[in-house]
């Protein structure tokens, strides 16, 4: 019962956040000096043609009405125009993209696989590498291994993502020609090619993030190793392996998981810079393209989608945190 209440509460909070996010996005882009109907007007574009296009696309009503139409579409779907040429966008309709002639949701869903592939693959690599190196560094504190790891981590933290990405692609794809230059192969088509095409973005993203995680893990590990319960575990006669691998690591993971939740949420929602650099047709790229072309429906959709992912992932992380840390469990 408590769990239901908790989830319901979180869900309500999520909805409010999403409403606010979508409203702000809508407002910001609404006040932009742009004419979304222009592209549907053609060349030459007469004022009458423009007005017709605006009417068809639903831009001829006051701004708040447009926002409500958008919200309404999510629950009831929308229809643009009438007669046989009308465009139907069934519920949940997150808007219709007239520039590309497709439902926003479809476009996002088309891209999700790419963004998820990039994000999840990279996340696995950096978690393993970052946490592993962090633990190792902490255990071998002061040794050359520790120093080198931390120096590289510092470099990784300080490296702008686009520079790392560009260097990665220039060196490995263009220079050495060992990995594919770009593009994405769906996992359903060919798993090996899928992974092969993702290697560079994975490694680059993982390098940048692993640095943060290695530092965080190391610091946390050192702190945890000083805790009383570690002393207790040793006093019980446990092997060092068990002391570190079980007692310390679990506690070290707690803050790591929190940071991971935020990172993964943002990453799943599309890595703007990485996707741009590696020409991965993911959600991030969709976002950049839609900003460029001021494609309001897509922008709204993607922003909402991103906010949704971030909140959902954070929620899941909170639940997972409960698994890791009994103190955070619902009682």
């Amino acid at each position: 019962m408590r769990v239901v209440k908790f989830v319901a509460g979180r869900f309500a909070g999520m909805v409010v956040v999403l409403l606010i996010v979508s409203f702000i996005t809508f407002l910001v882009f609404y006040v932009l000096p742009s004419e979304p109907a222009q592209l549907a007007c053609g060349r030459p574009c007469s004022p009458q043609a423009l007005e017709l296009a605006r009417e068809f696309m639903g831009y001829n009503v006051p701004w708040y009405q447009q926002y409500f139409d958008f919200l309404g579409g999510i629950f009831t779907g929308r229809t643009f125009g009438s007669g046989p040429s009308a465009i139907h966008c069934p519920a949940p309709c997150f808007g219709y993209d007239f520039q590309n002639n497709a439902e926003v949701l479809d476009q996002i869903l088309d891209r999700v696989e790419v963004s998820f592939s990039v994000a999840i693959g990279a996340a696995i690599i950096w978690m393993v590498a970052g946490v592993g190196l962090g633990v190792l560094s902490a255990l071998k504190r002061g040794t050359p291994l520790d120093r080198i790891t931390m120096a590289v981590a510092m470099a990784g933290v300080s490296m702008p993502a686009y520079l790392a990405g560009m260097l990665g692609i220039t060196i490995f794809a263009f220079g050495l020609d060992v990995v594919p230059k770009n593009g994405y192969v769906p996992i359903g088509e060919d798993v090996v090619q899928w992974a092969w095409h993702l290697v560079t973005p994975w490694l680059v993203l993982a390098f940048l993030h692993a640095a943060i995680y290695a530092r965080l893990t190391r610091g946390q590990m050192l702190e945890t190793l000083g805790e009383d319960f570690i002393r207790t575990a040793r006093a019980k006669g446990l092997t060092e392996r068990r002391v570190v691998g079980r007692h310390a690591l679990r506690n070290v993971l707690l803050p790591v998981v929190t940071v991971f939740g935020v990172d993964l949420g943002l990453l799943l929602a599309g890595t703007v810079i990485t996707e741009r650099i590696f020409s991965m047709p993911g959600v991030g790229m969709l976002l950049v393209d839609s900003i460029r072309s001021l494609n309001l429906p897509i922008l709204l959709g993607v922003t909402l989608f991103a906010a949704l992912l971030v909140t959902v992932v954070n929620f899941l992380v909170d639940l997972f945190y409960g698994v890791l840390d009994p103190r955070a469990r619902l009682t």
Binding site: D228, T232, R234, G237, R250, L254, P326
Partner: protein, 568 residues
């Protein structure tokens, strides 16, 4: 009797600090040896060195023989077998000694399986058996609990169960009860005694509480500044201490004078037991507080004070104070005692206005502290001084102590310019501190000095009422004695009224004219100090009195008997 553990010339140093110097003592099988000495004397470091639990920065030399084998140059694998096997260890803070993310059962099973080749199911069974052994109710259910779901006393029982899981020959207990309430402490000591007789385990007990020593130990080792200054049987040490340091140590112990609990009266029929100015509720555990005794012209009156924490959004609400009524007359010291969490600080908080009362009222010099506003509120503040438990956290680490003392003066613009400085110097002198300390920062002072600064600040505006919330419990015994002396003389000199909170009955006995006993948010008993302590009316007070150990082995043995009877 051959010695189980023998230390020969043990030395431990950290970089430049020579923490332990040429320490030798021994523990025979089945014997309880207590190591005492002031804070920082090297008791813990010595014990930890035995199992190789010191940080790598520590350099250890000398010999520590366990059954003839030197623990210091044992291969790691063998040492691991000793840890938790032949030697079990119990630490001071049970809360932090257990890993918060694993269930206590898991951690116990792990200890068993590290040394015994048992199946998980068998280990589990054994673990439940152990939980039963250490007196944990409902062991099968507790098995699945996590540390944060258990009380300090329960956790300490689990830590002890873990330490004795493999029937060790030696149990090292480093201040196993200091973090616990007296009542709980008595139970834990009883448990240790019981284990020793049942398992024939030798115990190396580290403590600074001479009462605990008197209660449990066979022999005593006294350490000072990294060295053993004296050792002998418990009676030798208590009756005829040879070294000056040992004498001092015993001298600064404050002992409860009243021969409490003579003739335990239990036939309490009516709701309230009244004996002149001495009142107590009759039920136990109590569901209501005693009414206040009549007052003449009180500085402080607390009427029907109820404080409820939480509630509303959060599911659980805590009734930290329930219809508490008290008063303090001018120049009088009212002691407030009770175990941890009984609501003492809550009452103090309500009096100082830091905690909002849910209902009831607090009046200082006739003005309701929750009602007054603006200038009147400020004027009221002048009349109250506060001293908190932990002197370090009571002083702003970034402010020189002189400025801290001057703060109330400046706030109330009581004085100006150079007269402020003069007043600060005066105040520091009155708490026996050199005025030259005024420019120091708190971390540059000792604990006792800091607490003196806090007292000086509280007295800066000559308050009518002083609230002292456990002002000495963070201090070493010897320091505590000095601060209490100072406090008493200041109270005589300035004549302020005082609400003095403590969990130590001995301290209350020395200072307070009247005393109120709190238990789970209720004042269960109040009356003149000698009345309450000599003839406690409420069962809880009786147990509290009996549980406090005294630094006299014979007297303590007698009290233990009383406590055992009460327990039933």
């Amino acid at each position: 009797m051959t010695d189980l553990l023998e230390l020969h010339g043990v030395e431990v140093s950290f970089n430049s600090v020579h923490a332990v110097r040429s320490v030798s003592y021994s523990v025979a099988a089945g014997e309880v040896v207590a190591v005492v000495g002031e804070s920082g004397s090297g008791k813990t470091v010595t014990a930890m060195s035995l199992l190789g639990l010191l940080p790598t920065t520590a350099k250890v030399s000398g010999r520590a023989l366990l059954d003839g084998r030197d623990l210091y140059d044992m291969p790691p694998a063998d040492l691991r077998k000793v840890r938790g096997g032949a030697v079990g260890m119990v630490f001071q803070e049970p809360m932090s000694a257990l890993n918060p993310v694993f269930s206590v059962g898991d951690q116990l099973v792990e200890a068993i399986k590290a040394h015994q080749d048992l199946s998980t199911a068998d280990a589990r069974e054994r673990a439940i058996e152990l939980l039963d052994l250490v007196g944990l109710p409902e062991p099968a259910r507790r098995f699945r609990s996590y540390p944060h779901e258990l009380s300090g006393g329960q956790l300490q029982r689990i830590v002890i169960a873990m330490a004795v899981a493999n029937e060790p020959k030696l149990l090292i207990a480093d201040e196993p009860t200091t973090a616990l309430d007296v009542t709980v402490q008595a139970e834990i000591l009883e448990l240790l005694r019981d284990l020793r007789s049942r398992l024939r385990t030798a115990i190396l007990l580290i403590t600074h509480d001479m009462g605990v020593v008197a209660d449990l130990a066979d022999r005593v080792v006294v350490m000072y500044d990294g060295q053993v200054v004296e050792q002998g049987t418990v009676t030798e040490i208590f009756t005829a201490p040879r070294e000056k340091y040992t004498q001092e140590l015993l001298g600064s112990v404050i002992t409860l004078g009243a021969r409490a609990t003579e003739g335990v009266e239990r036939a309490l029929a009516s709701e309230l037991v009244v004996r002149e100015n001495h009142l107590a509720v009759s039920e136990h555990p109590a569901t209501s507080s005693v009414p206040d005794v009549p007052a003449v012209e009180p500085v402080l009156t607390v009427e029907d004070l109820t404080v409820v924490y939480g509630g509303r959004l959060r599911a659980i609400s805590v009734r930290a104070a329930d219809r508490v009524s008290l008063h303090v007359e001018p120049g009088e010291v009212l002691g407030l005692v009770g175990e941890s969490g009984s609501g003492k600080s809550t009452v103090a908080g309500a009096v100082t206005g830091l905690v909002k009362a849910t209902s009831g009222c607090v009046k200082v010099a006739g003005a309701d502290i929750a009602r007054v506003r603006g200038r009147a509120a400020k004027a009221l503040r002048r009349k109250i001084g506060v001293v908190f438990q932990d002197p370090l956290s009571s002083l702003n680490p970034r402010t020189p102590v002189g400025d801290s003392v001057a703060e109330p003066i400046r706030l109330h613009k009581a004085l100006n310019g150079s007269s402020v400085d003069k007043r600060v110097a005066e105040l520091l002198e009155s708490v026996q501190l050199s005025a030259s300390l005024r420019n120091r920062y708190p971390h540059e002072l000792s604990g006792g000095q800091r607490q003196r600064v806090c007292i000086a600040r509280a007295l800066a505006l000559n308050p009518d009422l002083l609230i002292a919330d456990e002002p000495t419990s963070a201090l070493d015994v010897s320091v505590q004695a000095k601060v209490l002396d100072l406090f008493r003389s200041l109270q005589e000199e300035y004549g302020f009224a005082c609400l003095f909170i403590s969990h130590d009955l001995a301290v209350i006995e020395q200072l307070a004219g009247r005393v109120a006993v709190m238990h789970r948010g209720h004042v269960v008993e109040q009356g003149p100090t000698n009345g309450v302590l000599a003839e406690p009316l409420h069962p809880y007070t009786q147990r509290l009195l009996a549980a406090a150990p005294v630094a006299d082995p014979e007297e303590q043995a007698r009290r233990r008997e009383v406590w055992r009877q009460l327990k039933v």
